[in-house]
């Protein structure tokens, strides 16, 4: 579906992409990882036809620079930093939907599933929303249409655990029909979402590896944690994951989205000395959905 053939990008004397060759097919969920300045954003901008470059970039055989509308109508893009747009939320949705020939209602429905109260915020300027709310709306615009290629730059960074869970489910709904390119500084943030990892370093591809695709994007884990003693900081952190406490806040239980398990364990690692016992097991999807609002 996507082909980068010897893609070179220079900014004056600085060569940012040094002959990138990469092919991505439908069904591939690619983690594009690398440190700052590795060339991830530049590669994405070449893919979106926003940068001119040497070599060839093709999406279904079309050049994104020459056949912008045809290519970009297939692409759903979520940037890392939301643009400071002043137009009201509903207007932004309608504007994007009109350009994409999509149904704005469908985009709004996705936003509502992600936990954004469209009725409350519809007249509010986009720039005045919180970071998480902006992210939800941009995800809704990208996923609330028939995108065949999702380009997501740190898409879940500002989302709360509930919204992340629903976001993973939305990706699961698209995983067989779309290709996904998910950019991140850290592999552990996106590892469980992808089936392929591409690492960039100083404008070169240094790793292109398939990874075990065993985690169901829509799965959940039922988790129980027992503490040595109650701890207010832990209670606050675990409360953000919507866990319920018992036994004087010594015992906690709740659901964790399957692809979020690594992130969750990373959070728990900060309180490792407090934890007396922990158990995680695959949960019944329907029960988990009932426990997570909006799913």
């Amino acid at each position: 579906m996507i082909q980068f053939e010897g893609v070179v990008k220079r900014f004056r004397r600085n060569q940012v992409l040094k002959g990138v060759n990469l092919t991505i097919e439908r069904g591939h969920r690619v983690a594009l990882v690398g440190s700052n300045g590795a060339g991830k954003t530049t590669l994405i901008r070449c893919l979106l036809g926003e940068y001119t470059c040497e070599g060839r970039v093709l999406v279904d055989g079309m050049d994104p620079r020459q056949q912008r509308s045809a290519v970009l109508s297939k692409v759903g893009f979520v940037p890392q930093l939301p643009p400071p747009l002043k137009m009201p939320v509903r207007q932004l949705v309608r504007f994007a939907a009109s350009l994409c020939g999509a149904d704005p209602q469908r985009m709004e429905q996705v936003a509502v599933r992600l936990g954004l109260d469209m009725e409350r915020f519809h007249g509010q300027p986009f720039v005045k929303l919180s970071g998480g709310q902006k992210q939800k709306l941009l995800i809704a615009i990208a996923l609330g249409r028939d995108s065949e290629l999702l380009v997501l730059d740190e898409p879940a960074a500002n989302l709360d655990p509930e919204a992340r869970h629903i976001f993973f489910q939305l990706l699961a709904e698209k995983k067989d029909t779309a290709a996904m390119l998910i950019s991140s500084h850290r592999l552990d943030e996106v590892a469980s979402l992808v089936n392929r990892v591409v690492e960039m370093d100083q404008g070169n591809l240094v790793l292109d590896d398939r990874v075990a695709d065993l985690v169901d994007l829509s799965s959940s884990l039922w988790c129980r944690i027992r503490l040595i003693q109650p701890e207010a900081a832990f209670a606050k952190t675990i409360g953000d994951w919507h866990f319920r406490g018992s036994d004087g806040e010594r015992a906690w239980e709740g659901y964790v989205a399957g692809p979020d398990r690594l992130r969750f364990l990373g959070v728990l690692a900060r309180y490792a000395a407090l934890i007396a016992a922990i158990s995680m097991e695959e949960a019944d999807t329907e029960r988990a959905r009932a426990a997570v609002p909006g799913t």
């Binding site: 940068y51 940037p79 643009p83 747009l85 002043k86 137009m87 207007q91 994409c100 380009v151």
Partner: protein
Amino acid sequence: MKHLWLNAYADIVESLRARWFLVYTAVFGGLVVLLFAYGLAESRIMGFTGLSRLLLTYIQLTMAILPVFVLVTTVRSVAGDREAGVFEYLLSLPITLSAWYWGKMLGRFLMVFMPVFLAMIGAIVWGVIKGAAMPWAMLIYYTGLLMVLAWCFLGIGMLISTIARTSDVAQGAAFVVWLTLLLFLDLILLGIMIQEQLPAETAVAIALANPMQVFRTASMMLFDPQLVLLGPSAYVILDSFGQSGYIAYALIYPMLLGTLCAGIGYLIFRRTDLP
């Protein structure tokens, strides 16, 4: 075409909430209020009274303020949008570059022209309510002048925004362009150059090429038909063109200049990196 109008509309919505637009509207609205507050509609100068006098003063002030305002606000907001990631996101949507660029130009034109025009219309309406005679011919002529003035400097602003990669550079370049045009007004550097034996043809060519000089001459022509206040090159120009000829030139040339600058800006825009 639908995408062009959509983008023009989006730019209008964005501008309506932008700080530059509030300041811009307040300046021109405030100008009219000030002119009335100082009783300009009741004063007389060189035979012009009432609304004609008010319009003359308003257009003179506008000629001084509008170019620098349009240049700076255009380059700041367009180059600023690029820096802030607005281009990166909106240009990832399936819109053609021509619809994007010309839609932005169209929306921005309405936003810079309407406050100036509406302030002038407001002054006229107020004057008519107060019983002043309606100077129709002057109103139509000045409306046309304001339109081409806004279009011309918007085109120059879009060209600068396309070439400059940061809002600071764009703002500096816009200021230099404005200062250069200002210096080459008839009574400033051009006048000195004529004193220093600059060939008459060169002085006239500079005066005809400088849109600020063209507007100044065009707006004062009705007020001072002999152009004694404007300087030597304007006198020669009027002598060669005649009043009607110069009115046509003052309306057509800046429109072509603005379109040419915007067109070059578009060609550069579509060939270079977008965000």
